[in-house]
């Protein structure tokens, strides 16, 4: 049995605010939260990270090219335009990695299990087609002075064996 849960959203808000402010000095505010039957990134740059453990699924970050450039520009202040170009996708992937990694620490307060993430997959450009697992997602909008960041959280919570057996126990008693 699996379930999607709104409690998974706040760790991403908190992590995104912390990470983007620290690495790029850009302030992030919370925007609109919505529900979609499947993940459809709204902007030209998408970063996809898988999560596996007691939560499984994908986190998809989407932002427009201008914000992506501003972000990388700030992160690589003092570097040459050539270096910024070379590091562009890598730096964006690392921001998504840091947000997801920091969020997993907030999601997983348990000492007995690990929530793993995959390395980021990045798609940038026009006329790109991205094939994502067709899962429902909570879509979180974040606002910055340079444009929005959209985070689609398409994860399912797996009940532990202990929780499952306690449900079975409750059912047999009634």
């Amino acid at each position: 049995m699996t379930k999607i849960n709104a409690k998974h959203v706040n760790p991403f808000v908190e992590a995104a605010m912390r990470v983007v402010t620290q690495v790029a000095g850009i302030e992030v505010r919370r925007g609109h939260l919505s529900y979609k039957l499947k993940v459809e990134p709204s902007f030209g740059v998408s970063i996809i990270i898988g999560i596996f453990g007691f939560l499984t699924g994908q986190i998809v970050y989407s932002l427009d090219g201008t914000l992506a450039e501003r972000l990388v520009d700030k992160m690589l202040e003092g570097k040459s335009p050539q270096e910024k170009k070379i590091m562009f996708l890598d730096a964006l992937g690392e921001v998504a990695n840091m947000i997801t990694g920091n969020a997993t620490a907030l999601l997983n307060q348990r000492r007995d299990q690990i929530l793993n993430i995959t390395t980021p997959a990045i798609a940038a450009g026009t006329n790109l087609s991205i094939h994502l697992i067709p899962k429902p997602a909570l879509v979180l909008g974040l606002i910055t002075q340079y444009g929005p960041i959209e985070i689609s959280i398409a994860v399912e919570e797996k009940e532990t064996l202990q929780e499952t057996s306690s449900i079975e126990g409750t059912l047999s008693e009634t």
Partner: protein, 120 residues
Amino acid sequence: MGKRVLVVDDANFMRMIVRDTLTPNGFEIAGEATNGAEAVAKYKQLKPDLVTMDITMKVKDGLQAAREILESDPNARIIMVTALGQEKMLLDSISLGVRDFVVKPFTKERIISAVEKALR
């Protein structure tokens, strides 16, 4: 000559940040690796004084690489530098013999202090 550091991270960007932080502070970058398997091979080849090790990497992750390096050299000095600040990962790393656990994003002061402490 400064202490020699092997920087392990799959992201070029992060290797650059670690390199740019350590080099002006008197450390020498002995080499770089982009995954755990490369890290184990380069550790044997370069014999660095310290390794900064990411966890989430393709081919072989940083925890497995740290385990293998410490099995072959129990005196190896490794600090984990990862976005995954989960308590179990921290405890697992410490029980392996890793010297410190730095969570990304980090400040320059934090990484320098971790490296200096691990090298004492």
